[in-house]
Symmetry: C2
Subunit: 94 residues, 2 copies
């Protein structure tokens, strides 16, 4: 979700849809919103509320400096863990 937000201003409902398009077909809004709220709580995002002409106002997020760092940090950890796991998976026993 941090990565998705980093691609450009977006809001919860849209993030849900993007995740579904990405293949995470069964994510529901509730899950996404708990995470965006966590981002808010941890001060990783800037918030801008804009009205929509097809529904209630949208809360647009962008990453702030801390959010960028968190994202980079995530990818660092991801690269580490995924390389280790793939190693484990691929090269058989011992």
């Amino acid at each position: 979700m941090l990565e998705i937000i980093s691609r450009g201003e977006t809001y919860g409902y849209e993030i849900t849809q993007q995740l579904r398009e990405l293949g995470f077909t069964d994510v529901v809004e509730g899950t996404v919103y708990t995470i965006t709220l966590r981002f808010e709580k941890n001060n990783l995002v800037n918030i801008e509320k804009k009205r929509s002409n097809v529904g209630p106002p949208r809360k647009f997020y962008t990453l702030n400096e801390a959010g960028q760092e968190q994202l980079e940090n995530f990818w660092r950890k991801w690269n580490f863990v995924s390389s280790k796991l793939n190693e484990l998976r691929d090269k058989g026993g011992k």
Copy 2:
């Protein structure tokens, strides 16, 4: 940890060491044991207690049928998630 156990009978303390060798240098015993206990609780492992000549008895684990399945299931999910994440990481925006 399921994968490590699937490679052959092992016990908590040894699993901790293997994880450290794999690069997860800061895992501590407490963490590992909560997970082995979860495996027990979920009936994914067979248990065999054997005495040791260098310390207290060891609780050896092997995967049972359900454990094997759980492991295969894990790899399925892992392959899915990691391919999606790498896609997100590699091919830039949109």
